[in-house]
Amino acid sequence: MHIKELRLDGFKSFGEATSIPFYEGFTTISGPNGSGKSNLIDGVLFALGLARTRGMRARRLPDLLYNPPDGEPVKEASVEVVIDNESRAITEEEIRKAAGEVNDPDEIVIRRRIKKTSSDYYSYYYVDDRSVNLSDIREMLANAGVTPEGYNVVMQGDVNGIINMGPTERRGIIEEIA
């Protein structure tokens, strides 16, 4: 199983709808400081429900909405992760459990959207365009080995975090995995 496409629209510095293909194997991402590389990672964490807002370096959910240098932040942001599931790392049963039906088991589209109304902010989750809960997504992904405590996403500063943390917290990392 692998991610085959990442689409971001209005999310952090991705003010223009951006679609990025991903392939199996080893990919590197490079570019100037402040260009948006870490924001890409935040997009993946956001869409797959793998992080708290603070982990995405935003003080509150609204900070994730694209904010142009002159003008108002957009009212909506969404990130879509398209998963190649030909290996059936996620079974048809698990897809049905999350989304209610199975669209195309070879490909699973997970999408998360935040929307600002005049009074509040709303978070929406979708699997194959069917509305779901965050827990549905997390459960489906956990069975394929994708969990927040598994360190499969290592953010900028995590290595230093492990170095600087106290022994108790470090032991806690193993505790969480166990």
């Binding site: 590197t28 490079s30 570019g31």
Partner: protein
Amino acid sequence: KEEKFMEAFTAIDGFFQEVFEELSDGTGSLVLDDPEEPFESGMTIEAKPADKPVERLESMSGGEKSLTALSFIFAIQRYTPAPFYFFDEVDESLDAVNVEKVAQMIDDIADDTQFVVISHRSNMVEKADRIVGVTMQHDNVSRVTGVKANDGGDAEGAAAD
């Protein structure tokens, strides 16, 4: 509960020793401050680089600490494998030889797993099968400039050194 922990600890420690030996020329292990009462105390990491005495994580050099912490992360990944991995600038303190070793290990893992790495270091960026460039446009909008297949030639990574 303690059993589950010790089971995970022993396994991850085993992987840590393998990974660390591969990345450095030495041996290392995870160390429980109090093996009798693991939940009452903490865990540190000890390592013995080639020809050096044993050292705790706290007293290593900057790059040695990074390499040790990274080995711990790789060990966790071996214990709970995932279908894809994302690394954001994990090689900042490493010298070029160590960047090369970590890049090689990632390349091996990527034979049957998807691995995406953000880096400013040229020998990491150029080890990949593909390179994605990201730049910031004038209106504060990020732009992804091409996913370039990398045959070891002149790479997209013009912004790395």
